[in-house]
Amino acid sequence: MGMTIVEKILARATGRSSVSAGDVVEPAVDLAMSHENGALVINQFNEVYKGTGLEARVWDPSKIAIIFDHRVPAESSKTATNQKKIRDFVAKQGIARFHDVRGDEGGICHQILPEYGYVRPGGVVVGTDSHTTSHGALGAFAFGIGATEMAAVWALGKVLNVEVPATIKVVVDGHLPPHVLPKDLILHLVGLLTAEGANFQVIEFHGDAIRRMPTSGRLTICNMSVEAGATSGIVPADDETQRYLREEAGVPGPSSRMAPDADALYSRVIEIDATPLQPQIACPHTVDNVKPVGAVAGTRVQQIVIGSCTNGRLDDLEIAAAIVKDKKIAQGVRMLVFPASWRIYKEAMKRGYLMNLAEAGAVIVNPGCGCCLGVHQGALGDGEVALSTTNRNFKGRMGNPQSEVYLCSPAVAAASALQGTITDPRGN
């Protein structure tokens, strides 16, 4: 029996000729990522070594990445102290892939990792963040783990007791119509699968629409695969992956490619035709509560958010800027823009996207997770409604359980900002 791409990656990472779904393995880790919750990882890592008489040293400082993004600049003394603790640890352990609160190399972890060429096809990537699934966009097996599990990775260089996941094959053919974006595709898929439909499984993406999709869009669909419960999303590396690595991530030379076997065993196969797809909205309070935009058009909103690890890339800002250029966002609406990294921020500045957005009335916020997780930079008031390009709309997600969050693409968000109500961008 053939192998899925994740089975192949796990076979390589464990030095076996083959593995199959259900096997328990301990794959070697190529990249271990944390953000501010690295403070908890450090605590648990030191606990592991307590009483052993051994010095607490990480297994390989060149394979650990730490990126400050969740609360930057620090919103509280507690966060600032956690960040300080991590800085000290990074210096002591010699961790090189550290991205501090800086305008030259900072950003959201799920943008920094691909942008700096840290993720390679066929690799095993773990992160103390559920949206680590993003990095499957480059053909890696990338999944989220908890802080204590990361402490074990730092100590041993492998993930302990991983059950090889089954894989759902999703084939997307056809062409995404104008103003229908990768975000609409993944919202549609999450609605189809439900919030737990891919729990303990991987989503492997195939088809013409995926092959034509740039890496930025693949990052969006892999990012939100976890919203269907998936361990990871993955797009087998192809010419576009090669192009991205060479042109955008500064990785010279050819990179490995790994494809699933033709006779790989899948738990389920889903076929989607992209051509008739409409803009999609995830309605409160679950990500799988997905409807076509027409079903909720006209709903009044007070806050529009464009950005995050899901939709804060250059093409996202480009389409939003094009829609609001020379227009004004509606009175009574706050529009917040969070580019995914400082590299993107500065490029969007050069190209005039940020100017167009700010002239229309948007507030450009520094790259980071911002208000997505309800900590700072854009909490909602009681009874308020937000329309956001982020990835979660759970009750209380944007800092207030008395508010509502709808999720959408950057095109829908920008068109809606002009009207002050949820709006179909295809009418503009």
Partner: protein
């Protein structure tokens, strides 16, 4: 025997268990104060009115969303037991790693105040007289639970791999 102190539906997210606005608090000794921070049960937990071993009964996909380990440590701090029709992957792993007792019970039916006997093979609802089967935890997790949690398990592995001399 343990009492059901809360019943809650499907897709309970980590934002409900441990809201994001408290995420700067990370240490297991400090997280229990924010358990279900936006629900009524939080006050009872903080006032220590809920005895250790009390049960939360949930639907499918309990703990979906974030990888935040605080969602497991906050419930572990109160020694609660979660009996759910199903759990999200990362939450389940975090729970096993930290020793929070999670029980997969696909057909569970119970109301607040019911008395449950949570065994190794099944859950008996003593109030309604009905019993429900339990699904075993993913086998990858059992070795860690048996070792007393992931820190102890990793410590053992680190000691085994350390050069002798």
């Amino acid at each position: 025997m343990a009492q059901v102190v809360m019943t809650i539906g499907d897709d309970v997210s980590t934002d409900t268990i441990y809201p994001g606005r408290f995420m700067a608090t990370v240490l297991p000794g400090e997280t229990p104060q924010y358990a279900f921070a936006d629900l009524e049960i939080n006050a009872k937990l903080r006032e220590k009115k809920i005895p250790a071993g009390s049960v939360i009964v949930a639907g499918n996909n309990f703990g979906c969303g974030s990888s935040r380990e605080q969602a497991a440590s906050t419930l572990k701090g109160h020694e609660l037991v979660v009996v759910a029709k199903g759990f999200a992957r990362i939450f389940l792993q975090n729970s096993c790693n930290l020793g929070l007792r999670t029980v997969i019970c696909p057909d569970i039916e119970a109301s607040e105040g019911d008395e449950l006997e949570v065994g190794t093979d099944g859950v008996a609802n003593k109030t309604t007289g009905r019993t429900f089967r339990i699904e075993p935890l993913p086998k990858a997790r059992q070795a860690i639970i048996d070792a007393g949690g992931l820190i102890a398990y990793t410590r053992k592995r680190v000691m085994e791999s350390a050069p002798r001399g």
